[in-house]
């Protein structure tokens, strides 16, 4: 992405004041919250842990303790992810921090432990469940299940092939593959699988990779079999386990210039309508019909499987009129910035227009890690187009907005989740 125009871009950046801060594209910060507020934590869009050079990934730190609240350590470099549910931390990162959590025993087989495999498009994650008490500033989730990702061989049974076959068979269970120390999943629901994993034994064929993501694993034999795990024993969206401020979150990221920002610093605020710093105000509330989807109208097409996701590093949508990049076909590289508009509609009928800009990946300074105009392709423009039902409002959407996530079933500011609001 380094280009001849780099110094020129930096020149423009300095002329137009990219925000405070030093070199590169400068940095941007949201308005500070009241000093007394403890229902929030800082979020930094930057390169991430171990200089992973992430673009548009929001990171935060949490405190992880033994279930009884002892031996607390700080774990940084977790992706603040409104598109997943629950805490996932690399085993090596916990080990380096000096915390050893006990793997969760299968309640029906004391010689086995419970592990979890999450199929994702870039690969899978694998590792045991463990109980921990999580503290984030003033909030505490006492004794909740989290998922320890086995990046250091500390967990013996290998990942079941039934799970890896749902992916490209690539492991994302490492800092270098995930480009993060883990995930802070604070999305729309409390549990990371839900009823199916809790009731799969009664299904035709029992628990399988088709209806379950949990396994009961034996360290001696190395065998893992799909197993039922009650919802409350599944990896838990930590927000839903807080004593207060547990009905949702707000991710607040500052406005940044279209040329990008070296870093951007904002806040993850806990609770909606529970404190002076988290009221819905005049935000447009879009309830979700089928989790996690809303309907987006774009270029005259209705895309009814659209979503808002801080774990996506770009806006992903199909527009075959915009050129894709020659070196990174995943992304758009228009000859000059393109201004576009979409319209989002919630299940409750709320309609909200969204204006956004797409600029060329090739024009971005490689000194910056935050961009509000990075966009990627959703459907190939070559040959016959496939059905396209989705618009992914990734991190660029969050800059300059306060995005509310109202959790499923919770009364969040007078409106029952699941919803997005902004």
């Amino acid at each position: 992405m380094r280009l001849p125009g780099l110094s020129a871009l930096l020149g423009i950046c300095m002329l137009t004041a990219c925000g405070g801060g030093g070199g590169g594209g400068g940095s941007s910060t949201t308005t500070p919250n009241p000093a007394a507020a403890t229902n929030l934590t800082a979020v930094t869009v930057g390169p991430g842990p171990s200089n992973q050079n992430n673009i548009n990934m929001p990171f935060a730190s949490i405190t992880v303790c033994q279930p009884d609240g002892s031996n607390c350590v700080t774990i940084d470099g977790l992706i603040v992810d409104t598109g997943s549910y629950g805490i996932r931390v690399m085993a090596s990162v916990l080990a380096t921090a000096g915390l050893t959590l006990q793997n969760t025993t299968d309640p029906n087989n004391s010689s086995n432990t419970i592990a979890e495999c999450i199929p994702l498009l870039g690969g899978y994650t694998w590792g045991p469940l463990a109980s921990a008490t999580i503290k984030i500033n003033g909030e505490t989730a006492t004794n909740i299940p989290i998922n320890v990702l086995n990046d250091n061989g500390s967990y013996t049974p290998p990942v079941p092939t039934a799970c890896t076959q749902a992916t490209s068979n690539t492991s994302l269970s490492s800092v270098s593959a995930l480009h993060a120390n883990g995930l802070l999943g604070v999305g729309l629901v409390p549990y990371d699988c839900g009823q199916s994993c809790a009731q799969c034994a009664a299904a035709s064929g029992g628990c399988t990779a088709s209806n379950d993501i949990y396994y009961s694993c034996n360290a001696s034999s190395g065998v893992c079999n799909p197993v039922e795990v009650a919802e409350t024993a599944q990896a838990r969206n930590p927000v839903t386990a807080f004593a207060v401020d547990n009905n949702g979150v707000i991710l607040e990221l500052p406005s940044i210039p279209s040329t990008g920002s070296m870093v951007a610093t904002g806040s993850l605020i806990f609770g909606i309508g529970t404190q002076s710093n988290n009221s819905l105000g005049s935000a447009a509330v879009l309830t979700v019909n089928e989790i996690p989807f809303i309907s987006t109208t774009f270029n005259g097409q209705v895309l009814n499987m659209s979503f808002i996701d801080s774990g996506s590093n770009a806006l992903y949508f199909n527009d075959s009129s915009i050129a894709t990049c020659s070196q990174a076909a995943d992304f758009y590289c228009p000859a000059s910035p393109v201004s576009l508009q979409a319209s989002n509609q919630g299940a409750n009928g709320t309609i909200s227009a969204v204006s956004f800009q797409v600029d060329s990946l090739d024009s971005f300074s490689n000194k910056n890690f935050a961009f509000n105009d990075l966009a990627g392709t959703a459907v190939t423009s070559s040959g016959t187009n496939m059905v396209n039902n989705d618009f992914d409002f990734g991190l660029p959407f969050f800059f300059g907005r306060n995005v509310f996530i109202g959790i499923d079933g919770a009364n969040a500011g007078g409106i029952t989740g699941p919803y997005y609001a902004y």
Partner: protein, 151 residues
């Protein structure tokens, strides 16, 4: 959209027959049964004007559509539901092209992925508890079928 009894009969007989594992995308009718078995699914088949549509509903509620030419070759697949399907099974001999496409895309976590290999095209969304996508083999698509209409 009428269900052709001939295909229903074929589907029912396949339910009772443990076929050897064949590829799905690019594969033949045998692969359907392999898919159904691997993914603990129920199979329902419908004869359309230009192709046969085979629908597998897995025990977890994910619905898989396999589009088969009149000559009996699966040229496209789609999926949608709360659990990711077994893509190695579903993509069959095209799984390696899928792997190549993943390897060639940006590193790290993806929620949306689009792959355009020479003879394998895929678009998918993968979120926890919600997966959907479609894939097809351009050279196998029957003349006159618009891939954009296959849900």
């Amino acid at each position: 959209m009428a269900i052709n009894p001939r295909h229903l009969g074929a589907a029912l007989s396949m339910l009772l027959w443990q076929a050897p594992v064949f590829a799905a995308l690019g594969g033949d009718a045998h692969s359907l049964d392999a898919d159904r078995t691997v993914m603990s699914g129920q199979l329902r088949s419908t004869s359309m004007q230009q192709y046969d549509l085979h629908e597998i509903t897995t025990s977890g509620g994910t619905v898989i559509h396999e589009y088969m030419t009149r000559q009996g070759t699966v040229f496209a697949v789609t999926w949608r539901g709360p659990f990711a399907p077994n893509l190695q099974q579903l993509f069959g001999s095209y799984y390696q092209q899928f792997q190549k496409g993943v390897a060639g895309s940006a590193p790290g976590m993806h929620r949306v992925m689009t792959i355009a290999q020479p003879d394998f095209v895929m678009h998918a969304v993968g979120l926890m508890r919600s997966y959907h996508g479609s894939a097809y083999v351009p050279s196998l698509v029957p003349t006159g079928v618009s891939v954009g209409t296959l849900q």
